[in-house]
Symmetry: C2
Subunit: 189 residues, 2 copies
Amino acid sequence: MRYAPEHNEVTRDRILDAAGRLFQEHGIDAMGLAKVMAEADLTVGTFYTHFKSKEALVREVMVRSIQARHEAFTRALRDGHLEGVARTYLSPSHRDAPATGCPAAALTSEVARRPRTTRQAFAANMEPTLDAFAECISKRRGKKASRADASAVFGLLAGTLQLARATPNREESDAILEAGVRAALLLAK
Amino acid sequence: MRYAPEHNEVTRDRILDAAGRLFQEHGIDAMGLAKVMAEADLTVGTFYTHFKSKEALVREVMVRSIQARHEAFTRALRDGHLEGVARTYLSPSHRDAPATGCPAAALTSEVARRPRTTRQAFAANMEPTLDAFAECISKRRGKKASRADASAVFGLLAGTLQLARATPNREESDAILEAGVRAALLLAK
DNA sequence: ATTATCTATAGATCTATAGATAATGC
DNA sequence: ATTATCTATAGATCTATAGATAATGC
């Protein structure tokens, strides 16, 4: 159709957005390409003019979601406000909205089972976020924290959010979130 | 066939073991019943004489795996040896053997997306383990730690293990594990 | 004229069921 | 005689491809 020059890219973005939401809410393996394309108001046939394979989509979605989250993290982490980040991350509203929430909390254990290229894309794109956490922790502690140290704090946030999501009783789940905030601040002291 | 009275139960156990390994290694949605039954040296047809549905299998496998892990945890946690538990949990060999490792690290984010009955089975069966952690932390701190406090420590362990599994570079992954151990001990102080 | 979209389909796999087969305690 | 197992199959869905259709810049 020789569409407008930006048309292709706009559609691609719509597919990536749809896949990002559906993968995080229902898991990668649970969402077929037909459902992803329907969420983007398209049919399956069009998928392969935009992506080489489902795994290529998974990689791109992950990178994109991680980068989008990075923006949010760095905005919040500026000036060393780790407390605010922890409170927002471990909030009931984040727990209850996995589709638009942190991709690491939703997908890390699935990423671990994906092909090496996908894991590399994940790890490489998490580095800026982990470095931002490390810098923030360093400031609080008054001594250098490594990226690995930041991974432990981030692991606490993501792991605790997952436990809260898997806990059906609301009060118990809320209590897990609150204990997670206290723990995160203790850790970064 | 009017088999030996214990025959049915033995076979059921074999299916549960097979499913436990395959679910933890490849994810629940990635493993079809045909593959699970083949791993147990059976064919698909037999599945429904043992379980009502795949979801019923998922619930039973989870309960069983969590209980098996609980044994290991309580043995190790006795006498307040949190350091040993953290070192074993965040060891390269645990990272590299998800099939036989902690079910929570492998499956919590998937459990969060399962039906409420499955999440209830998960949460209820995690309680003894979390209480054992809470008791151990209480001893170390010299003041009462709640189950939610234990969830934060456990969330740190599971979340950090997941990050280490998703990190393809070995040195970086090892560093994450080590930082996780330090963080766990710091948290429980 | 170009190309993103559509419909249709291949071939594999998924969960679940039906009915035949085979193993063994009475 | 009982029942766990098998083979076979239904019907839905999965990833991926082929070829027709339609939209728009030249």
